[in-house]
Amino acid sequence: MSLNTFFRAFMALALLLYVQNGWAATVLVAVAANFSKPMTEIAEEFEKATGHSANLSFGSTGKFVSQLENGGPFEVLMSADEKGPRKLVEDGLAVPNSQFTYALGKLALWSATPGYVDDQGKILTTGGFKHLALADPKLAPYGTAAIEVLKKLELFKKLEPLFVQGENIAQTYQFVSTANAELGFVALSQVIDNGKIAKGSGWIVPSEDYAPIRQAAVLLKKGAENPAAPALLDFLKSAPALAIIKKYGYDLPK
């Protein structure tokens, strides 16, 4: 084999690898904690449908934005709000106009004890509990929504001393599921199964009681060259993904 043939073969191989790489890439996704269950399912479908794979990191939106501002490696952010993606676009870290709402979050008042929370949320007025868990409103949109609901019910002043705040909605769920807090405001997606509250007891807070929790996704500049990143964002708008999002109790963006 002459050197030239060798070189050609090498180039062909490199090209093949490159194409293959373009064909089946991996995208690194930062996912808001409330969306961890549906996103795990969506990622599986995404892999089946496209051959690409998605590496998921779960946490609070605030932490992800903070990490991205400081060189974090994520290629797609699935935020719990619209603020985070907007800020990343403003700061030149995300691709302009790549932002869209993928789901509308729903709030639930939930207890690990069956029969504890009635389906009207009257327990908030009757009281008898020592702790009410919610996500820190400064950090998590589900916390902001919970505060809004309490203010609307004119219970904020009365219940504020009972607040225990989770750093994100996953931690809030943990406080309630270990029964350390008798009840708390969690994301409906955390407690729903087949359209019903799966265990314990809960009240699905009517959507008109709080401003819509518009959860937005955005393509980061780090992921602009990775074919799997826009593919994932497209997949989020596909029928199979929307079906999963709906199954977990989210409203679909219009």
């Binding site: 605030g62 903070s66 501002e69 607040f163 225990v164 705040q165 931690q171 406080f175 029964a179 350390n180």
Partner: protein, 228 residues
């Protein structure tokens, strides 16, 4: 600048650290004494248990404490029976968690100090008819003074810096469980970098001052060496 909420978290942190350190000294001194003297087969086991928080991720300890101290947990049932209620989300719960977490930093320097004293001064005291308690207070304590100082400083400062355990069992309640490390974390997550810088700077200066005191004024060995 530091806001008044930030100052509150600083004060609360000092309070938690102060009380935890007292608790650790009260429980850790007899424990360290026993560990330094005993020939019991249990010594190895107890040593390992005391040192566990050194290697265990704080989140593991925090998670277990949240479950065990909760209303359905063993400790939670016991404290409920005592009429104290469940400990998570309370100041007392934070002290208990902190004391457990920082215990090796108190017990190990004390144990090392007690071991170094050896048998001779105790025997001398005994020949002078000093009671064991008298011996402890007038012979052992002065001889083990550097050990006590190291234990106090390390126990205190380690509690000040603790984060993972508090995050898991605290619930971020102002004036009760919102300590400075959690406040810094929240500032960073809320992208309030300016506030985060101020508080973080305070902790940095504090930690450096503590270690400087330890190594210059008290002239102790580096911590890593002490813990061996």
């Amino acid at each position: 600048m530091l806001t008044s909420a930030d100052l509150d978290t600083l004060l609360l942190t000092l309070k938690v650290a102060g009380i935890s350190t007292s608790v650790m000294l009260l429980l850790g001194t007899p424990l360290a004494w026993w560990l330094a003297r005993t020939r019991s087969a249990w010594k190895g086991v107890i040593n390992a248990v005391v040192a566990l928080p050194l290697v265990l991720p704080p989140t593991v300890l925090g998670f277990y404490l949240l479950v065990l101290m909760g209303p359905a947990g063993v400790i939670g049932k016991f404290t409920n029976w005592l009429g104290l209620g469940a400990l998570p989300f309370t100041f007392a719960g934070l002290v208990v968690a902190s004391a457990l977490y920082s215990m090796p930093f108190v017990v190990q320097p004390l144990q090392a100090a007690f071991t170094t004293i050896g048998q001779q001064p105790l025997e001398a005291a005994a020949t002078l008819r000093a009671s064991p308690l008298d011996t402890f207070f007038s012979v052992v304590m002065p001889l083990a003074k550097p050990g006590f100082l190291t234990a106090i400083i390390l126990g205190f400062s380690h509690t000040v810096g603790e984060f993972g355990v508090v995050l898991m069992v605290g619930g971020n309640i102002p004036d009760k469980t919102r300590v400075v490390s959690v406040q810094i974390y929240n500032h960073v997550e809320a992208l309030e970098y300016n506030e985060a810088h101020w508080l973080a700077g305070c902790l940095l200066v504090f930690s450096f001052a503590v270690l400087l005191t330890l190594y210059t004024v008290l002239k102790t060995q580096p911590v890593a060496h002490q813990l061996k």
